[in-house]
Subunit: 305 residues, 2 copies
């Protein structure tokens, strides 16, 4: 949509972390009037200086907003932003759309949708993928499901935050299911990449050459290609943290138990992320799983003591 | 090299299975004089009709050959082709190159190289990647290591069988190590793809849509993109069999123990291939791991009862 078209529309963005801040900035650049909320006062002040208006509570942010984008870490925080005292539902106008971006179990997404709709609002189950940089560029992938009415109303905002919007069905929970399937694979691929690079190091191979050869071979994955450069550079500043995968593979494990469906490969990857978090690297880059193998086996990796 | 340049050179290809047959055909098309050997008389007769000359033993094939390409399943078969009665070393001329393509532990590759060199021959540790179709097209990837003399002599043959030849170092065993790192990843990615697709089925998702979305997302891998279409088509005719990965992840497990280096993610994938083989699908396509999950959990997958 044109910037002129967007300029009248008020959007609330709840949660200005590494993903939410980028989304809010993208929306502001497209001419939306963005009101942001975050629990951290400093982040909120920065947002007000750079992109829009700061609100003191989710309720204040959602007042008069037609679309409320919630970009927090998990379903509990999403529920709190919506339903706690000074939550979104206290002020959001009838017919406003809640765009829920956190990764969560499909059952939880269905439940939140029901509660939100009981307040006269629309709900879009809209997990996002693509990382911090693509969030800032308005080039995310959105894996969304929800009613046609919710889609129609949220469409200009989805188009402004994403390069690709998948409309996966009318039921909330479908978007969450697709995201979980993606995260199962992403988590396993990161853990496998770290295991493979650490083994290559143990075998005395030139790791830069391993990266070059594997990236051009059948052993490649999107995550191998994206994360191994962090290991080669010895740079573990978090683009996406280990704790994201203890959470997301934890959701896979929850679903696995509740559905009585075995996920042994994802389970072994989850244990590696948990070991890495237990060793004090939970907030570091998820490629830190390679450092755990190095620590256990006394390997020298770049930048690792 | 030009066909005229190749036409004088005699090449032995030992092992005319799904990979070796394609390699031998590619070499014949480029003008090499190819003598083939296989334990199966029928395969050998077909090769003689289509591409070259059939030999009754590895020794007969290797007689007067400047280059001997060994494309058998594992290191034991490679050793037998070389050193058993009527083996390659009985007849191969001094300075001929043995190009060893089977996936094996790096230590075993070093040992074979030493024994071959003791017979006055050159040895190239040259595992291959790319599958049956690329073998037939002369478009494999070769992950090779060995002496400059071995490389120089084998180069025209490597160029005729491969789209990409990596020269990874002078020591035999380096090629094997690169291949093992690739196979660790490839095996984990296949098992993870099967686990993810089976979970998606359990969650009631449209599997064709899952394929489309994941292939465009951060959860993608080369193996996901290549193998999931087999599951969607319910087509488990082996392009690459489950037993290849019980073998290759078995080598990873052997190395893991001998190097005292933990590989828990590869280990969980190996167990899934072993379960699939135990359930009678060892010679079927490696995407059959998805059928195992379906069998265990009573899922309906395309083409699965």
């Amino acid at each position: 949509m044109s910037e002129a078209g967007a300029s009248g529309t008020k959007i609330a963005v709840i949660g200005l972390g590494s993903m939410g801040y980028g989304i809010a900035g993208s929306l502001a650049r497209r001419g939306f009037q963005v009101v942001g909320y975050d629990v951290r006062a400093e982040t909120l002040a920065q947002f007000a200086r750079e992109h829009g208006t700061a609100a003191a509570t989710p309720a204040a942010a959602a007042k008069e907003a037609q679309i409320i984008v919630i970009v927090v870490v998990n379903s509990d925080q999403t529920g709190e932003a919506l339903f706690n005292k000074s939550g979104v539902v206290e002020t959001a106008g009838r017919g406003a759309v809640v765009v829920s971006c956190a990764t969560m179990a499909p059952g939880r997404a269905r439940q939140l949708a029901l509660e939100v709709e009981n307040h006269g609002l629309l709900y879009l189950d809209a997990p996002i993928s693509g990382g911090t940089q693509r969030a800032a560029e308005g080039a995310l992938t959105v894996l969304a499901s929800g009613s046609p009415a919710a889609f129609a109303k949220a469409r200009p905002v989805l188009d402004a935050m994403a390069a690709k919007v998948y409309d996966l069905g009318e039921e909330p929970g479908i978007g969450a299911s697709f995201k979980i399937v993606n995260q199962l694979l992403a988590g396993v691929h990161i853990a496998a990449a770290c295991e493979a690079i650490a083994l290559a190091s143990r075998l005395g191979l030139d790791l830069a050459r391993v990266y070059e050869v594997i990236a051009a071979s059948a052993g490649n994955s999107w995550m191998f290609e994206n994360r191994v450069p962090h290991i080669l550079a010895g740079d573990y500043a978090a683009r996406s943290a280990v704790d994201i995968f203890t959470k997301d593979l934890g959701i896979v494990a929850d679903i696995s138990r509740s559905e009585k469906f075995p996920t042994p490969v994802a389970s072994s990857a989850l244990q590696m992320f948990l070991m890495t978090a237990a060793a004090g690297m939970g907030r570091d880059d998820d490629a830190s799983v390679a450092r755990l193998y190095a620590m256990i086996a006394g390997l020298k990796l770049p930048g690792v003591e």
